[in-house]
């Protein structure tokens, strides 16, 4: 028990329609670490992310944040499952960035950022607005704060989405293929923001097809296949000539 992982899963499992999509996943990440998750389509990468970020319930196993189990409340020494409202509170500690951005289309950029702090934390608007401005400057979009998502490019939308997650001060950030929906020329601006975030010490789990990002920014690379983690290595070893066979086979496919 005496490890100091930021977030950790033990025997995490998920079944869809009788099909075991995640098979006993043990995944752990230290504070400030960046892990890239690679793997073929349908291997369960997104599923693991949705489970770890509490967006979806697991069918087995546990998730620990700072060594404390998520989704469980201990009252008078007895454990019970968290209610939806308690789960919502736990989710504020976990940020999620989607492949398809999922900005709120009926709100402008500023309102997209303000909703979380004002509705969830009941922060005064002024205070939240100040934090939003700091974050929008950081992702280079302060000049666009009155625009609606439909008026932004994909790269800009994804940067807003990252700021919207960051304004909740999450302790871990999950990225599910954050650049896969972008035109190639817009990928860089999003990766730059993510690199900046990694440099600032954020704990990050990044599902990606960008082997360049995995190689240069991540501390560890994890390979998924058919609902299991089949390999974990430092980028240097992962992308080296004498990597294990499954890694080589996978990399041959994507490169």
């Amino acid at each position: 028990m005496a490890n100091n992982y930021k977030i950790e899963t033990r025997q995490l499992a998920k079944v869809y329609h009788g099909q075991q999509v995640l098979k006993s996943i043990d995944f752990s990440i230290s504070p400030g670490e960046v892990k890239a998750v690679l793997g073929p389509s349908g291997s369960g990468k997104s599923t693991m992310l949705r489970l770890m970020s509490l967006l979806e319930a697991s069918d087995g196993g546990v998730i620990l944040l700072d060594g404390k189990e998520l989704g469980v409340e201990v009252v008078n020494g007895r454990a019970r499952p968290s209610t939806e409202i308690e789960l919502a509170r736990q989710r504020t500690r976990l940020g999620f960035v989607f492949q398809s951005f999922n900005l709120f289309p009926h709100m402008n950029v500023m309102e997209n950022l303000l909703l979380g702090p004002t509705a969830v934390f009941r922060k005064p608007r002024k205070e939240a607005q100040y934090e939003a401005e700091v974050l929008l400057k950081r992702v280079g979009l302060i000049d666009h704060c009155n625009k609606f998502p439909s008026e932004l490019s994909g790269g800009q939308q994804q940067r807003v989405a990252i700021a919207r997650a960051l304004i909740m001060s999450p302790e871990v950030m999950f990225f599910d293929e954050p650049t896969s929906a972008l035109d190639p020329e817009l990928v860089r601006e999003v990766l730059n923001v993510m690199e900046d975030l990694a440099d600032s010490g954020m704990t990050m789990v990044v599902v990606t097809h960008e082997t360049g990002f995995a190689r240069e920014v991540s501390d560890h690379v994890v390979l998924f296949n058919e609902g299991r983690i089949v390999e974990e290595a430092t980028p240097d070893n992962f992308f080296s000539a004498d990597a294990p066979l499954p890694v080589k086979q996978f990399l041959q496919h994507v490169m």
Binding site: L54, L55, E84, T92, F98, F104, H106, L115, G116
Partner: protein
């Protein structure tokens, strides 16, 4: 038979016509309001995980979509008081009867509109709300309902306008709405043209005003920072289209 414009103008500005128009407009507005509220909860029931709720709400929608409005009104007015004795008192006026009957019907239709509007909101929206820590109720209030409204405005506007016209059916339970007033005048004087066209003018005016309000609302829900007339975003066309569904 010549058109007697004096009779027409008298009718148009008569107290009974104004009254009838007010009855039609207020009744339709109340019906639409209650139907939206009830329809919202029925729509949630239709999408519920609980089988009992799903069956109950589907049965409701099925029954009230099948029965003609006229028959519902007659049943509510003539049969319901026999089953529910408290309705045999003076407060159960034709207006109340029409309000109950038309709301029962309209709620079923609104259920389907609201349900498909809720479904049209991208699945990722709920996830995004969850991810920033909103509770299920906050997700509905801040994320899903505003987006649902945009999709629901055109079909709901149609329903409302239809409801204005449907209130005329309540003349069978002797509600003194526009058509009823016109009919009474006609049966007294046999001046069909004058009295009925005066009634038609009222419907035209009411419906035109509602159409303007609907257009304004639709514009308000365009979600762009600069909304210029004619600056129509092609990306919106898909959701607009379900109007005809």
């Amino acid at each position: 038979m010549a058109f007697d414009s004096a009779v027409f103008w008298d009718a148009l500005f008569s107290r009974s016509y104004l009254n009838g128009a007010f009855v039609a407009l207020s009744l339709a507005t109340l019906v639409q309001f209650f139907a939206i509220v009830i329809g919202f909860f029925l729509a949630l029931g239709r999408e519920s995980q609980k089988t009992v709720l799903r069956y109950f709400t589907s049965a409701y929608v099925w029954v009230f979509r099948a029965i003609p409005a006229l028959l519902i009104l007659i049943l509510v007015w003539n049969v319901l008081p026999q089953l529910v004795p408290t309705l045999r008192s003076s407060w159960f006026t034709p207006y109340m009867g029409a309000l109950v009957g038309l709301t029962l019907l309209e709620a079923a239709l609104m259920t389907e509109i609201i349900r498909s509007s809720l479904r049209s909101v991208d699945k990722g929206q709920k996830l995004a709300g969850k991810a920033i820590g909103l509770t299920p109720r906050q997700i509905y209030w801040h994320v899903l309902i505003p987006q649902m409204i945009r999709v629901a405005i055109p079909p709901t506007g149609n329903q409302y306008i239809n409801m204005i016209k449907m209130t005329s059916l309540a003349s069978v339970i002797s509600l003194q709405e526009l058509l009823y007033v016109a009919q009474q005048n006609v049966s007294r004087t046999f001046s069909y043209m004058e009295y009925y066209s005066a009634a038609a003018v009222y419907y035209l005016v009411i419906v035109s005003v509602l159409m303007v309000i609907q257009a304004r609302l639709e514009k308000k829900y365009m979600w762009t920072s600069r909304v210029a007339p004619g600056n129509f975003d092609v990306r919106n066309i898909k959701t607009w289209g379900i109007n005809n569904g």
